[in-house]
Symmetry: C3
Subunit: 219 residues, 3 copies
């Protein structure tokens, strides 16, 4: 059992640098926002929590070893509980969901990521129980977000389709990475997750930021 | 020190199956609810979180060994932090408590279960410190829920008496189980907690579901 | 490597006794509060959570050993996540910040303490990464709390200066204690943190309690 630690660590430092930069960028933009807004400066927190997550992975704090000898960085999923709940809460705000459904969407997201954490930290076959439970919570989140679409504008629906498509690639990577069937290495996994984190957290934040202002002016 | 693992695990799988089923049942009922409700679909989350908790116990992830050699499944209490806070928040909603007291009731519940977790994971005599702190938080929760009863209708008060009586059996089981004095085994403990979980989470949910609708129509 | 356990434990028991007493004191005062208040009985929870934290430290559950052989009680910072987020949420309420900034202040505080936990549990040089990230979150919290000062009365600004000065001594103690450069011992650290906990949680609570009533009567 040889742990190849090193390659993926470089990816994590790159991720920490990118998200550290975007934390500051979103914070600088925050000043220009109108202040009396129910949607808080969520992009700052999503980027900042992700920065901490990448530093934790770059320092290889908290890893297990998959059956094929590749390291598993399970800490990622604990940070997703916070960052992704904020993200979906944000989406529910933009989609002008009633308060009860905002809470439901955030809770389903938190449970998705918590079961993802259990599925990642466990290296035996038992992990698939939690992959299944995580998938159920994820479907619950998507269902809550997508039902009663008639009320929302075309823009909001396009945002939600972007979310569904990009977010759904996370479990695909999980299944193919050493956490699942080990089709590719932890290094490849690190690059793919970074690309997905970039799309779902930074690109999404940049796309949504002006729409948050529009939503505010309407209400 | 012989760990008798096996008997109680069967009970946990049964619990996982029951709560997995009720998660889906409450989710199916959720569709028929009116949508603009402040009380979110809490029964779904209580059942789903309890399902995850039972799978974690069924796989015997996270146990310690009591002084009498019986295994202690302390993970239960971490999941209670979430599921029981949602339950008491729900009760506070139904009792039409002001917002500040809703938060207080949920915080007291969370602290009760967190101290219950510490009392369960610690096998030395020190655990009784946390049993005491947990009891104080529990009394605080009951006090916040029961004070100013004059404002509530008879139905709501009967719900709260049901809650107080069934919830108060949890610490009784804890004291008599291997976590406390070890009067009975972990197997008996597992059956008793499952019966209490059924009463406080499923029977309560079935009883409260139509009243949530009534409360909604009134307001 | 000799762990000098004992001296600091006495300080922690004293702390547990003090905060246990103030929990009851704030609970007794709570009865006299007017009930329909958005600021919940936060002083009770801050004191009670701190009581649990001191009992956990007094029993030496969860410690690491610094490079100079002194014990590090890292559990403190996990409890600060909850207690200090409640405190800053309270401050944001008193300062009549908009809802979005209340959430931001509480999230920044939680992240400050979470990174403080990582900085404390890690004994290698890597811990300074998390000290830096904690400091960034702390500056974010102070910035969110202090910006747009023009709207607040003189009293509220004086409260916030008190908060900034006393809270900013925590990282100073951290840097000089065995967690940082080890200029003084864990025993001295325990006394200094207890003094700071007293100022920021009890003295602050006593100062703020009548003002919470005033704020309520005005609105």
């Amino acid at each position: 059992m040889v742990r190849v630690l090193g390659e993926e660590v470089t990816v994590y430092w790159v991720g920490a640098a990118i998200f550290g930069f975007t934390s500051l960028m979103f914070a600088a933009w925050e000043k220009r926002r109108q202040s009396e807004d129910l949607v808080f400066g969520s992009n700052i927190f999503v980027s900042f929590i992700t920065t901490i997550s990448y530093v934790v992975m770059a320092l290889a704090l908290g890893t297990t070893v998959a059956e094929n000898g590749q390291p598993i960085y399970w800490t990622r999923w604990l940070f997703y509980i916070a960052s992704c709940s904020i993200l979906t809460l944000d989406i529910a705000f933009i989609a002008q969901k009633p308060a009860s459904q905002k809470v439901e969407v955030a809770l389903f997201t938190g449970l998705t990521m918590f079961c993802g954490f259990l599925a990642s930290i466990i290296v035996t076959v038992d992990r698939w129980w939690f992959f299944a439970l995580s998938s159920v919570a994820y479907i619950g989140m998507l269902y809550t977000l997508f039902k009663r679409r008639g009320d929302e504008s075309v823009n909001i629906t396009s945002v939600m389709w972007f979310v569904m498509l990009t977010w759904s690639l996370f479990p695909v990577v999980w299944v193919l990475a050493p956490t699942g069937f080990g089709v590719f290495t932890t290094f490849a996994e690190a690059i793919l997750y970074l690309a997905l984190d970039f799309m779902t957290k930074i690109a999404f934040g940049l796309y949504i930021a002006p729409r948050q202002n529009i939503g505010k002016q309407q209400s």
